[in-house]
Symmetry: C3
Subunit: 142 residues, 3 copies
């Protein structure tokens, strides 16, 4: 697939809630993880997004936050996918953190090296990939 | 213009669809390319966004994806502007890809070096700049 | 707090406007600065977001634009927090700009080194942190 987003999550559309301008679309991945996307109603119509349809959710790694530890805070970001850190690739300023989700998919987040240190992120560490529904792009095959 | 967004697209507002909270605003650039922005209704009122008004769309390069090759996938991102890669500036981890759009404007995307390699991005290569309507900021002069 | 967002803005919810899918939530920080977030209605319900409730706004530094100088342009981004540049940390490609807001909080933006040069950003320089309401994640303690 020739698209520069680091995260590709293929799945099946399990819910579509249409509003006046935007719709909320839920995608269930093969392993059971669920991703919510906010897209325009025009996209719902143009792409034929409907329950049961195969689709892929695309999310740039820079749009993903990492949440770790036992946290007493709940977040408004609709996507908060729990998993375990599998790999941390450190760059000069940022690191790419790969999280193996419960359902088996890999999620990538780009975070600062500072955050990696402060949060003690390393392989085996439980962590969630957190991103807003409005940051998800859906794609369908014709 | 003193604003740190890499992409500045000046144009004329060609459509405004208001919903209860958000509005969808279409901007037509001088060369004919169209950009769709989702902004709050309060912004439509405060900025006086209306058909025929001059405005500029601002988009950070990190919110732009690059799509390349003949693709049988369609995307929910409302902005999918076709063009040709003009320049690829490689950094340590990421590259900045400049795409000359059909209408003549330049669009910038920051993507990983890995994506540049995998997609074979280089000058002369057809590619699209893909970004969500909700990632566009509109600006108007007083 | 174990979350990889650079910007943490604790405050009190001062307004909630619900639409059919999304709601607009205003948070007033201790120093008086106001941040607007667009979240789904489901989040409003799940998190119990209501006027008077304590909450924290999370924004990744890469989602924040810096606006500087006397600008005759107005923007659709609902959050345009004025302040003074306190620090610029230069990396290979990007710099992190710390802006001390009027109310006392620090806002962080990641911008290109090119933008820092062009805009002449340096300590003592008046600048605003600009970000869209749809890019704000709200968190509440249980």
């Amino acid at each position: 697939m020739n698209i520069s987003a680091r995260n590709h999550f293929p799945g099946t559309i399990s819910k579509v809630d249409a509003g006046p301008i935007n719709a909320q679309v839920e995608l269930t991945l093969a392993g059971g993880d669920r991703i919510v996307a906010i897209v325009t109603n025009e996209s719902v119509g143009n792409l034929g997004l409907a329950v049961g349809r195969q689709a892929t959710a695309f999310v740039k790694a820079s749009w993903v936050l990492v949440r770790a530890g036992s946290e007493s805070i709940r977040f408004s970001a609709r996507n908060d996918l729990p998993g375990v850190v599998e790999r941390v690739e450190k760059g000069a300023v940022n690191s790419e953190v790969a999280i193996r989700l419960e359902g088996g998919a890999l999620a990538y987040a780009v975070v600062t090296n500072e955050a990696v240190l402060e949060m003690g992120l390393k392989p085996g560490f439980p962590a969630s990939a957190l991103f807003k529904a409005s940051h998800v792009i859906l794609g369908v095959r014709d």
